[in-house]
């Protein structure tokens, strides 16, 4: 509750500052619209914004699901095959030095202007934090549990499924938290580079037409979407952590 009050207070302060700046320097609308103008755009173009937000949200959602599945799958495979993990490690490190944003034009070239390129962007961004987080958890299972499980005669797969995976769920959730924050970036950059739908496309178009108020409105919608995603990921992470610790 205190966090909500504090957040509300700082948001109100930012709004006042924003409005004050616009008044003080008498900024034209196409440079920096005031909060009132943005709110008006938000209301006037609500259907347009909702339509494009739905596209972006679909891309983010698909990216999150596919990226999480692939990332978790790789972590499971690498946890079972440490030899493969050692061999792949340098490849993974090098792959992370490639800025995903630089791949956006190529992905658009390969996959066209539709949703696929944006989803792949989101997947590429999500994949790594999810798989490293989960793998980290899978690798540091309490050694006493593993010894007990082996004495009990447990097989590798069953030990993985009944013991290592449940114990690593909080780490998977930590990766999901990062993923929820980054996924929208991937989708929006994909839309910037080439597309005809989505909030990123809408921002670009509004910018070109000097509809700065609409640009800010789209940005606000994007921020709100990301915050909601992040809150959902936080809740999931808390639940998984409570489950794993039995509290």
């Amino acid at each position: 509750m205190r966090g909500v009050i504090g957040g509300g207070a700082s948001a109100a302060m930012a709004l006042v500052l924003w409005a004050g700046l616009v008044r003080l320097f008498d900024l034209p609308r196409f440079i920096l619209p005031g909060p009132g103008a943005v709110a008006a755009a938000l209301w006037r173009d609500r259907l347009l914004l909702a339509d494009h937000a739905a596209t972006t949200l679909t891309e983010i959602g698909a990216g999150l699901v596919i990226g999480t599945l692939l990332g978790a799958l790789l972590a499971l495979v690498l946890a079972l095959l440490p030899g493969l993990a050692r061999g792949l490690h340098p490849v993974l490190i090098v792959s992370q030095t490639v800025p995903v944003f630089a791949l956006a034009p190529i992905l658009t070239l390969w996959l066209g202007y539709g949703m696929a390129a944006k989803i792949v962007m989101a997947v590429l961004i999500i994949f790594f934090p999810v798989s490293t987080g989960f793998l980290h958890g899978l690798r540091r299972t309490e050694p006493g549990w593993l010894a007990l499980a082996r004495v009990m005669g447990g097989g590798r797969w069953r030990i993985l499924w009944h013991l290592r995976v449940p114990a690593a769920l909080p780490d998977l959730a930590g990766g999901l938290r990062l993923a929820a924050t980054y996924a929208p970036i991937g989708a929006v950059i994909g839309e910037w580079v080439g597309g005809s739908r989505g909030l990123g496309y809408l921002m670009l178009m509004a910018n070109g037409r000097a509809r700065t108020d609409l640009l800010f409105a789209a940005l606000l919608v994007l921020v709100a979407l990301t915050l909601v995603l992040r809150a959902a990921a936080d809740r999931l992470a808390d639940r998984l952590t409570r489950h794993a610790t039995g509290s």
Binding site: W145, A147, V151, G155, G246
Partner: protein, 238 residues
């Protein structure tokens, strides 16, 4: 009948972990292995449990095969996300056979946790968690039971009650218990070995069935003798 025999030396990477050990554990009774930290008690248990990866044994080694051993450690090793009942039944799930939950409940009742089967470990006290671990050990129903200082983290009263309970429930099984507590060894040992850097030495246990009364004069004498040997750090003639 000898259930376990470790005669020889253990090495890991050329380093000697145990030198000239001669330890025979008879079937159907409690054997206590007493010794200071770092003397290799844990290595012996790991050898017996088939967990001694990378340890080379030079000499004769008779240990139970896979599926013959149950393990109970100082840490209860309960999985926090499972209920007491599911923790007790964990072994079956790990082996891919349907768990006998009714049997798990019966064993929980025998360790005095009849009403607590649905509780997660976080909702249980340290003593209760160790009771669940004991029930899990019984559930495995193996001929050889390895106990690695199972009661050393408990307070004195709980420890004494757990010793009574374990002695009752694991009577006539082959039990090898590692401990650093002379009182525990004197209470529960039907055979007692002191392990030092120079090997294992057999000590005559107090008379009488286990668990022995703590105030028994014979027990107190053995306890004092064990403590004296641990303090001296070397074995001496009995």
């Amino acid at each position: 009948m000898t259930a376990l025999l470790l005669r020889g030396s253990a090495l890991r990477g050329g380093r000697v972990l145990l030198r000239d050990l001669d330890l025979a554990v008879a079937a159907g009774q409690w054997t206590c292995l007493l010794g200071p930290s770092g003397v290799g008690k844990t290595t012996i248990l790991r050898l017996c449990a088939g967990l001694a990866n990378g340890v080379e044994w030079r000499g004769r080694l008779v240990t139970p095969g896979p599926g013959q051993v149950a393990l109970m450690a100082q840490d209860d090793l309960l999985l926090p996300w499972l209920s007491a009942r599911d923790n007790v039944a964990l072994g079956a799930r790990l082996r891919g056979v349907p768990p006998d939950l009714a049997q798990a409940d019966r064993l929980l009742a025998r360790v005095g946790l009849a009403g607590r089967a649905g509780h997660k470990p976080a909702a249980l006290s340290g003593g209760e968690r160790q009771r669940v671990a004991l029930a899990r050990t019984l559930m495995e129903d193996r001929p050889v039971i390895l106990l690695d200082e199972p009661f050393s983290a408990l307070d004195a009263g709980t420890r004494a009650r757990m010793q009574d309970l374990a002695a009752e429930l694991l009577a006539r099984r082959t039990v090898l218990m590692v401990t650093h507590d002379p009182a525990e060894a004197a209470r529960l040992g039907e055979a007692i070995h002191i392990l030092t850097g120079a090997g294992a030495e057999r000590i005559v246990p107090p008379a009488g069935p286990i668990p022995r009364a703590v105030e028994d004069p014979g027990l107190l004498r053995v306890q004092a003798a064990l403590l004296a040997r641990l303090r001296a750090g070397v074995p001496c003639a009995a």
